[in-house]
């Protein structure tokens, strides 16, 4: 089976490519990229090749979201691996990494294998499980990193529950480094954030909602940086939301430490000002921060301090959100709005096209050691086709995700994925 993607602008930061060209896919692999490939192939190829005209479209290596919650096993009313994978391809993602906080927690081989089997059955996006750092993510005893790795995890994290014990975090980073497994840190000092609901600042004050101070995040970012420096290991900082974290990570990188970091679209799109209506769809952790933090996140993206954009896809059921603000669950169903929101960074001059694709594909693949994020000849044919001019309106009723919890419902967007190809097969066609 051959597929020819004809006439699009092809952007692949992994080989510094940005050209108008045709892309040939054969047997699930990328085999050729060249201008006017269609003409040369026409003369000799058999009729089995399907050509898709993509003039004015943009072809990029399949997008990768390295921070999602797919909820299965255990919380299927929020999301299943199949519905999450469907949301992924609809949002332009060919691969997602899923956090271990299902029920039970993915802290052992059998859960990892279950997730992989469900993902294979769904046969939509590639799903890469992330294993728990500590048993039951309880923060006291390490999980079996080797066993989990053999079962197929690509990273370790207790996401949602920070590793509060610094000694345990040190041991986790050291032990993981001997296996080459990335560790993703949810940075939140729970003594500082305890009971907090939104960013601590003017809005928490006038709304009478208990605040989560920016230092709750920053104190642990600083701690992890110190551990990395002392132990000569690596860490990836999840969902960076504050100016102080950006500054700490920037300085650490300048000193040559092996730190990588991600932020999520909501942190460069919304601020805590939007909490004024007590709309629980805006309740997330880390919380939406101030306008100064938002500006610092954009700077961090622009200067490379923040390596990746990951949406922290956190689908919830209606019962989790249709309650009093302080009882509501945290999180945004983000896979189907992530690209649209991130494209605004190009429009606003924060990032170039290649820079954005680096943060949404090349870098996540590099950080998680995935054989993805590239259009090099011989690579898996994971490709996202973006129509940069397509105007659309976010409608949660149209989400593939079971989680309809989005603060972006009704928002006008410009640009979206119109074709998502995984392993050479079209898994989403929104043309």
């Amino acid at each position: 089976m051959k597929l020819l993607l004809a006439g699009a602008r092809v952007i692949d930061p992994s080989q510094k490519m940005d050209v108008v060209a045709d892309v040939l896919l054969e047997n699930g692999k990328i085999t050729q990229i060249a201008p006017s490939l269609a003409k040369t192939l026409d003369t000799k190829s058999s009729g089995k090749m399907k050509t898709i005209d993509l003039a004015s479209m943009i072809v990029v290596p399949g997008l990768i979201d390295m921070h999602t919650h797919l909820r299965e096993p255990g919380l299927e009313y929020k999301e299943t691996i199949a519905s999450g994978a469907a949301a992924a391809v609809a949002g332009g993602f060919t691969s997602v990494a899923c956090m271990p906080n299902s029920s039970p927690i993915n802290d052992n081989r059998s859960i990892t294998e279950f997730i992989k089997r469900k993902a294979a059955e769904a046969a939509l996006a590639n799903v890469y499980p992330i294993g728990a750092i500590s048993k039951d993510s309880a923060g006291s005893q390490l999980t079996e990193f080797w066993d989990l790795k053999e079962a197929g995890i690509v990273a370790l994290s207790d996401d949602g529950k920070p590793v509060m014990d610094a000694a345990l975090m040190r041991r986790a980073l050291e032990y993981a480094s001997s296996l080459g497994l990335p560790v993703i840190s949810h940075c939140e000092d729970t003594n500082l954030s305890g009971g907090g609901l939104i960013n601590e600042g003017y809005y928490s004050t006038i709304l009478g909602l208990r605040g989560i101070p920016s230092i709750a995040e920053e104190a642990m970012v600083a701690r992890d940086i110190l551990i990395v420096e002392f132990t000569k290991t690596s860490v990836h900082i999840a969902h960076v939301s504050t100016a102080g974290s950006v500054r700490l990570i920037r300085e650490a990188k300048k000193r040559g430490l092996s730190i990588s970091a991600e932020t999520a679209p909501h942190y460069f799109t919304l601020t805590d000002e939007s909490l004024q209506g007590y709309d629980t769809n805006f309740k997330i952790n880390p919380p939406l921060r101030s306008i100064d933090d938002l500006a610092a996140i954009k700077e961090g993206l622009a200067d490379g301090t923040l390596d990746a954009i990951a949406c922290d896809h956190a689908p919830h059921g209606r019962t989790d959100k249709e309650v009093e603000f302080e009882y509501a669950a945290c999180g945004i169903s983000g896979l189907e709005t992530s690209l649209g929101l991130s494209l605004q960074l190009i429009k606003n001059g924060v990032l170039s096209w290649p820079e954005l694709i680096t943060k949404m594909s090349t870098n996540p693949a590099r950080i998680l050691n995935l054989p993805k994020g590239t259009l090099k000849s011989g690579a898996d044919a994971d490709i996202t086709v973006i129509d940069p001019q397509l105007k659309w309106t976010v409608d949660v009723k149209a989400f593939r995700s079971r989680g309809k919890n989005s603060p972006f419902h009704g928002r006008e967007m410009l640009g979206r994925a119109v074709l998502t190809i995984v392993g050479g097969e079209i898994k989403y066609d929104g043309r």
């Binding site: 601590e200 003017y202 004050t205 006038i206 709304l207 909602l209 605040g211």
Partner: protein, 308 residues
């Protein structure tokens, strides 16, 4: 003037004109409570539900009496938030109440924003009787009515609010309301009780009681919630009372004709010394309670279209 608001959720949302209308209406209702037969037929046939998710004696009783003096049927529902977390949701409770066709629902809830959920969902008028640490608009209105009654005006007065501002819905509502009416507001409390960026609400902030009450026309003392001691926002009641208790000595710093207010219930000897609380020459604490009934009568009247 026609009163256009469907709900009373907070002082933040009320205009100066609306506040004046409420206070004037309340003043006209004061007299009813002094009659031998304290009842007028104004709201006959109307029903008011008091939905209280938090313990309250004063506010609930005040709303109940307000409704009854206007001949409305008042129904009290005490719900506990613990059963709410596990049992019926607030939204379901509200929908059920709505189906019984009351005219006004008064809600008190420990979660900030709870009345806003009801206001958005229900066609009935909602009155916020206190939501978490957010707002308590009827308390601010009765405080403003009391200040106006004693001082003849609000504009230009210096009002000191002292205590746990962080957890106080009374403070927030009074800051919004009194600022709109032209008062100058000064806050005081230990830094652990002063919420971040509070000065952006247009108030002066001090950490010493003496600095705040100097030359004040009105001193409003807030109740210290004893359980906060466990949250390390202050070391002990003993130490707190030594530095933040309004007493005979420090009150001399305020204006000679200062009035002392407290939203109740008081912790005598903690935030206010008994001889100040009971001193009729400065304490207006019981006038506040009296005016509370009138303010709540005014709101029930205005929200049910009484002045149309």
């Amino acid at each position: 003037m026609k009163f256009e608001k469907k709900d009373i959720l907070g002082m933040k949302d009320l205009s100066v004109e609306e506040i004046n209308l409420i206070l004037e209406t309340a003043e006209s209702f004061l007299e009813i409570s002094t009659r031998e037969i304290k009842k007028v037929p104004t709201l006959r046939g109307k029903s008011v539900i008091n939905l209280f998710y938090e313990a309250s004696t004063r506010t609930r009783t005040s709303f109940e009496i307000a409704g009854k003096r206007l001949s409305a049927d008042t129904i009290n529902i005490s719900a506990s938030t613990s059963s709410v977390v596990k049992g019926e949701t607030l939204i379901d409770t509200a929908r059920n109440l709505e189906a019984m066709n009351p005219d006004v629902i008064v809600i008190r809830h420990s979660a900030a924003g709870a009345p806003h959920i009801l206001a958005k969902l229900l066609r009935q008028s909602i009155i916020n009787a206190g939501d978490g640490a957010h707002e308590h608009p009827t308390q601010a209105l009765l405080d403003m009515m009391t200040i106006k009654e004693k001082k003849g005006k609000i504009a230009g007065l210096k009002v000191a609010i002292v205590g746990d501002i962080m957890h106080s819905r009374v403070a927030r509502s009074n800051i919004y309301g009194l600022s709109k009416m032209g008062a100058k507001i000064v806050l005081a409390g230990p830094a652990t009780m002063l919420p971040r960026n509070i000065e952006q609400m247009g108030v002066a902030v001090h950490t010493k009681l003496e600095d705040a009450i100097a030359d004040a026309d009105v001193v409003m003392m807030l109740r210290i919630q004893l359980e906060r001691q466990n949250q390390s926002i202050f070391p002990s009641l003993r130490e707190y009372s030594q530095h933040y208790c309004l007493n005979r000595n420090n009150i001399k710093l305020a204006k000679k004709d200062v009035i002392v207010m407290h939203p109740g219930p008081m912790n005598r000897g903690v935030e206010i010394s008994p001889d100040i609380a009971d001193d009729p020459s400065c304490s207006v604490i019981l006038d506040q309670v009296n005016n509370g009934v009138a303010v709540r009568m005014a709101l029930l009247y205005l929200l049910t279209g009484g002045n149309e």
